[in-house]
Symmetry: C2
Subunit: 279 residues, 2 copies
Amino acid sequence: MQFWKVHGARNDFVLVDETEEEVVPESDKPDFARWACDRRSGVGADGVVFIRSDPPSVEMRIFNRDGSEAEFCGNAARCVVKYVTEVRGENVKILRTLSGAHRVEVQGGWIAVEVPEAEIKKVVELGYEVDAGVPHFVRLTERDPIHDFGGLTDEAKTIFSEYEPKGGVNVTYAAPSVDELRVRTFERGVGWTPACGSGVVAASLVYSEIFGPFEEVSVRTAGGCLRVSLSDGPLLIGRAEIVYKGELRGDWRENTDHQRRRHSLSRSPSGRPRLQECR
Amino acid sequence: MQFWKVHGARNDFVLVDETEEEVVPESDKPDFARWACDRRSGVGADGVVFIRSDPPSVEMRIFNRDGSEAEFCGNAARCVVKYVTEVRGENVKILRTLSGAHRVEVQGGWIAVEVPEAEIKKVVELGYEVDAGVPHFVRLTERDPIHDFGGLTDEAKTIFSEYEPKGGVNVTYAAPSVDELRVRTFERGVGWTPACGSGVVAASLVYSEIFGPFEEVSVRTAGGCLRVSLSDGPLLIGRAEIVYKGELRGDWRENTDHQRRRHSLSRSPSGRPRLQECR
């Protein structure tokens, strides 16, 4: 079984091309995602994307590390467009996902992806409630959220827990500096990540509202540089990298470590993990 | 450039076969290790092993994530023997490393590797100072070090710091249960790891000294089951897995993220990280 390892702003994915044929049966997709994302005994990634290319559009489905299916991811979208363009040599304009159709465009080494409209819903004491397709609490800070985010963790957890009754929130810190915005997000269910696409868009909107208006905002994240075009879309613009092509050896379902960990995560009657015999 | 992703008890490695020719120039090997081990923009691994097979022996060199070269690693050794046996179809009896020659043997699905002799140097109040090729402080515990190790971290750090003036020590916790020993190690410079080969050997020696003597000890780690034959070698016996074959796309040196992170880790005169322009 063939796959590709790709990343956008250090948000990394296993990409499986199912254009010619289904490679992982539908019912196996969640378990494959759990296995493939395991960084030590699988391939190692934040998620798995399955694609079907049908120029001028391409379909992308994305599964998280826990096997759940997500609607959309800006970083994954760029990787898919880069793959279809450079590996399949095809030209695509539309990316189809569970969250609908998104305009995409290759701009030299950069890839632009139309992302859900972002809107400031409420201004509160500590920051801004923003809907960017997913809920964000944008907090302006003078600290450097890229290198100095450790000290922000407790506050981020406090803000997160206040919104937990309403399904929780992604807490995005933004530090305006001379010619760019430095952003890092404490993501719901994940924690700090190198670069959260919707967080970058939410922070750019608030930045433009207070200091702008700006047509385009240049954002630095721990995963690299992104740009947000607010006047057109909005568009999330960034790079993507195709790191390598892989060929699995043997059937991933037979992978002993995956079986052992699935087996050991099942609970014995006493509630303790049931561990296989050390044979 | 071709590589293989392998793991032994969830201690994972990028394997580069240089039998036919040098694949990564000597001077690039440390930098390649730093790039390849990066779990998001590289391949992702604990280390990189370079091998040259010359039956009945095989040479293994191993580089850590930080680019430093290590002398030996039991988990990596099993992966190398599995690769030479199953992928190259060759029969090897001796593994050559910086720490010398090690007897190796394939036993069905298990692989036995001769590891450095282990010796209890001193018995102190909290545990046992053991030389297993590398220094270990073995501490017996009633807690389950596989699932319940969080609570042991502070103590492990305290013990580690007491030995820091003497170069530090790996702190290995061992919990004897009915028919097996449960072991986890707080490794020098790394922290908790799924399975440390020398830690498993050190703990087995102490276990045999107190409750034995035993010819062979069965050990459960967070990375799976290992066995230690004390009467013969000693031998560290365990499984290994070849997960996939990979083909890098383009030159890893040109990998923009690796360049960006190397560039951004260089310091400007003020001491702050020097960050590339967000172009």
